[in-house]
Symmetry: D2
Subunit: 426 residues, 4 copies
């Protein structure tokens, strides 16, 4: 399905238009003394992990509308990510979710990954649902539970994820703790925090020294009065409690209305505690839409912080893990993921074009208009030719979504896997 | 299960404390020249409809944690509401949801309702999910769909609901239209509205002249870029388009952050277009929690508008339908519903105590502090003895939740219906 | 100060780069069968009114930091707008604010306007502040006041504004009603609305038949419990009450968090009630910043609705008035206004590039990804050369802010008017 | 003006009703084994500081409506607070604001304070406005400024405040840093933070060892893109940087929509970093209204955390400073302050009534309904007789607002100070 040769063929009719646009942009940037190839190279190097749980249609608590051909096994999930990566050469790793993705045959899996040129970037634990055989329920919490037995079960599950991670070469263990309360009084604020901190410490101790624990925060949902880890401040304080291998994970949809997320990003970089991102699109809450679909300027400003930090020696933050976390309701999930990666690359490309020396000068001089215009100049530049060129140079499709459609991938997947196949996850 | 006699018995040990509190409140109000019995009588008369879909555990798109003993049929749902009503005598009607509650045997159902002292207050259509046999999908909308065949199917479904309503004596047809879009460009704003208006007109025409159509609004979820009916202004304009039997339905959880809902209530009363309420508790969005659990003052202020309107001859608004719409995740749904009704009655009782003549005088004189204090005086009064007395006089439990627990209702329901019974609905 | 010749000279060194960029864009669009000159012509025709009150530094209730050279009279305000218009040829009219801008000598003013090529687009009344000589205070409201004498005073003030409008050729009378309440109980929701409707009717009757009344809405500030006209639904219902010459005014900063403003725009166009815009930038509330500075995609989506409506014969909405309403705290106000107009033109240019036939086809087919990409293609296109070309063809500066700086305008204004000159307004 | 004798006389006609209500509540609580006098005593001990800047009418950036009789000097401000404290015996200290309240004659001031039974609780610096003689402007920031000279000036100003604090016996130095930016790019996120941290360190070092620095946070206003200290996480990290005498100050109006403030309170108590409160009422943002006027349940839940922490030996947090920070637009400021203190006392009284042993048991057992009802039982109890009794026992007025009105205080103040007197501050 969509071999490299096929992708290459699909590129041919688009090359003329691409060259026209790319060569103009090359000239335009040259006039501003910007060399284009180093930018393209950084785009080529940039990789975003694909979540195994976003390969099928998700939905809300209301209707779900599966479109067919969804992956029925971990192997098929890997096959789908491999396909995406053949198309865009920018998504060479997968986030797994336990227990949805428990590997049955680790060596075979490793072999499949190797052949596909993929790696596992992170393991994600799940204590927000009860699994059939589990002795204790997470109805009233997991790592923060008032019951020691429940906490112990949740800790064990996380340690099991860590073990899978070790086997599969994933050096990130991600904890999204869904614990919280729906009503005032239900949960004791301080004790719930303390129990959580101690539970996390038990997991942290079980991690190898080259593994990072990412601690996600979220202000509401599934609980609607309080979440135990509602904001970056709580994640950060837990990281301080745990040690240097604990880092904050920022999910774009996990903020209260009007939050300045890019400032949080800069703050965490300053503290050396920005561990990773869950990219998605959000207009109201944890909407889990296509990244960049509703707030492209925000996405650019976030990358502006990231690039600024990466180029600043004062920043000691370790490498940031880039991951998508989304749920697809009305779009074909694979098209959505291709769009998301492309929007991320576009935001990154624009951030790379920011004239940082000039920006710093304007900032130091408090020339507000000029500082703003320097940023806007990068934002307003049409960088799509840079992204397309990065795709091209690395062997991908000039237009991944168009290639996906031209290759009739969904139709083939439905033929192979059936109209009613259902992927696990949200 | 919990017969009237049983409830009567459970009241006995509580009577002394109740009399102590009620007699004090009677004296206190007498000192302010307020006669207590007319207030109690209005509380006795007040009825809130119970939604059939809230009798089982709901949940979010994340984990769900059923507690067992949930109603497995429409008959069992009616039995549950009858039980609630025996306990509080304030919930003598049910909102049904089609197709979850399609009656199989109408005469038998009518008989059960009659014996239970219950009525069906409203029918609720569902075009936000695909049903197994339905030829067309609502993935991309229903009444607003670009496809005439889809719209026609959705109209027919609504007309079918109207027919069930006629058979069951429900004189309200409620439309919550979940149509919307997740991405800019997906839906044409003006055409989607116009198609919706025309679809609603087809349903409206099928209604008997003594039936009211309630049009709900919601700003987001299940769609996260736009909803076709996002706000009261849109509901209101659709009502104007349809005719006098179309009215706006206000769901407390369906507003953007910081919305002054009580003002919308007053506005719609002024326009004669307030048709009904969906009560629930909300801190962030459509959280569907226990009514009054997080914003008791707001609930009071809403009832302040309702009572003010009901006592004002200038208001020509027809009777307002009071309904609960909730989803229970961590509480026993029946306890939650008893709490919700009690909180609603408490808010209503406080609103009845507002000294409206004094308030109007303070408002006319722009005595801000005094106007506020008049409202606060009512709000701060402990009216629980009034609500308990209303329960008592009408034959219910002095403390419905305590009686429910003392009667070990849930345990009996689990025995009867099983630990794994699952109710339909959200 | 900055004559046409001077501006022409300042353009010369920029022309080569402009031609390079514009000629590429011309070719690019030609490859998509889009002729560039009609787009440029529409940009040339587009005009945004400048508010007289935004020519000086504003600020918040905290510190204000005037920068000097602010206009000290209506004549100087007109001179400033004339300067802006020489630079961008896109702001040939002024919104006046009474009583800040009461004309002392109408014929002289008309002469100055004529010589400057400017018109007065709208008169804005002010009943949110007490003026020194006024007999009654607006502390507790104006058009909604409980006191007939206060209402009458406010009505008279508005009628006076209408009279000035007639004399100055302004055919828009804008009402921003700041009335509201800070505390529950302070104001009677329904009576306040009714008094407002009747007061507005008195003003409406005094308007000539070719004048439009624009009714603004705002959810909060200066009152923080309720505003009498908090949302578009209230403005719309007041317009229906008044007659066809009453229209809704949308101010971008006057919405609750997460409001989908472009949908409101489409809705009002559908109803034929979109009267005008107050453009500004907002991240939290009525921030009154540079238009487009924080949400450029939203601005584009709003223009997408406007262009879509303008090209659709089904839309019977009269011409929409485009006005800026802003307050400048840390930028030079004139630079801010030049940026705002440029951002507006950019959003308009992008909206003009949307392939509407293809978009409609994708919408009708529910091809969500394609519909979105069609919009994004326009948004991601770098249209700055189109805007610059419109400036150039109409005799303005290729880069108005740069020209303003190169011309050392602020320094000259300070010399003329002094360092401590203070403009009136917010 | 309103001597103790006068207040005593005004109480007489109210005593009968008070005894009726208080004796009932005493009995009611006795039935629940709660002794009433210890609760009353805690209410008597509770003191809230009055901000000098809230004694006159404030307002928004729109109209201001002074009511006359406002204090014209620091001495008159102290006289006003002394009056408030005579009325409620619960506001025996003042927050001063430099430079608005620079003491001219320290010994005389100390004498006046002593005679009035008042103390200065805190000094508040002001670097959000330019003062006439100051060499450098804060237009582009103060402690975070890019200019060393500006930072130095701001540091010196703060140290000056510390010095005044030492002289006046204030052991709190409060920093509300209004620094921020209005536009993306204007300010470098990380460098601005670092400069702020270092500036604060310079001030911290100048403090005596028994002084506490309170660091306030605020998400927006006066800047509308970013604030340097936008959230509790940033305040907290700055406190960690500075040392143990740096603590977080929570202002109720300084949060994004839907923030769970009581959880932040519990979090900071857990960390031992909750330094103090700025009480006020907020529905939308920094509305600065009467405390408890719009969200009385939230205020109760905050006090629930405070009382819970105070009674828990695990909490090592030092004493929390309780201060009002408000701005009065339509009410008489003194009435507003009396209402605010009363609402605070009411919330505190309710929190004291919570049955904590039962609550903990319900929490440990995950009995959600019971935990909630325990809290609600306290909240729904009418505690006004407890507050009145605390007033009475300490020599204040049974109904301070009524006494204030009966004593015709405002009329006397206007006679003394004139109709046009204007207080400084917001």
């Amino acid at each position: 399905m969509l071999t490299n040769d096929h992708i290459h063929d699909l590129n041919q009719p688009l090359l003329d238009d691409h060259h026209f646009r790319f060569s103009y942009l090359t000239d335009l940037l040259a006039r501003r003394s910007v060399e284009v190839q180093p930018v393209v190279q950084q785009l080529i190097n940039f990789q975003v992990a694909i979540p195994s749980w976003a390969l099928g249609t998700g939905g809300t608590r209301f209707g779900r509308y599966p479109l067919g051909g969804e992956p029925r096994s971990l192997e098929e999930k890997i096959a789908d990510v491999a396909l995406l990566n053949r198309l865009n050469r920018s998504s060479n790793s997968i986030s797994l979710h336990i227990p949805w993705d428990i590997p049955r045959d680790v060596p075979a899996l490793q072999q499949q990954l190797k052949e596909s040129g993929l790696t596992i970037d992170s393991m994600n634990s799940n204590t927000f649902q009860d699994q059939k055989e589990q002795p204790y329920s997470y109805k009233f919490g997991s790592l923060s539970s008032t019951e020691a037995s429940v906490r112990q079960q949740a800790i064990q599950h996380n340690i099991e994820c860590v073990e899978y991670g070790k086997q599969l070469g994933a050096n990130i263990h991600t904890v999204w703790l869904a614990d919280g309360s729906n009503f005032p009084g239900q949960q004791h604020v301080r004790r719930a925090y303390q129990r959580t901190a101690e539970s996390l410490a038990s997991i942290y101790e079980a991690m190898p020294s080259d593994m990072t624990m990412l601690i996600e925060y979220k202000p509401y949902e599934p609980h609607f009065y309080s979440m135990v880890i509602p904001d970056w401040g709580t994640s950060y304080s837990l990281c301080q409690y745990l040690g240097k291998n604990a880092q904050v994970l920022v999910d774009l949809g996990h903020h209260l209305p009007n939050t300045n997320i890019e400032q949080i990003v800069g703050r965490l970089l300053h503290f050396g505690r920005l561990g990773g991102f869950h990219f998605n699109g959000s207009m109201y809450g944890d909407d889990d839409l296509t990244t960049g679909s509703s707030k492209p300027f925000q996405l650019f400003l976030i990358f502006n912080e990231l690039v600024d930090g990466a180029q600043d020696q004062a920043v000691t933050n370790a490498a940031v893990a880039y991951m998508i976390d989304a749920s697809h309701n009305t779009k074909d999930p694979l098209e959505d993921l291709l769009q998301s990666v492309e929007n991320i690359l576009g935001a990154y490309a624009k951030a790379l074009l920011v004239d940082r020396a000039a920006l710093q000068e304007a900032q130091e001089n408090n020339d507000v208009v000029r500082a703003e215009e320097i940023l806007r100049d990068a934002f307003l530049t049409d960088v799509r030719p840079l992204v397309a060129e990065a795709y091209r140079q690395s062997g991908g499709a000039l237009n991944p979504v168009a290639a996906y459609r031209a290759g009739q991938v969904r139709q083939q997947l439905i033929q192979q896997r059936g109209k009613l196949s259902l992927s696990t996850g949200l």
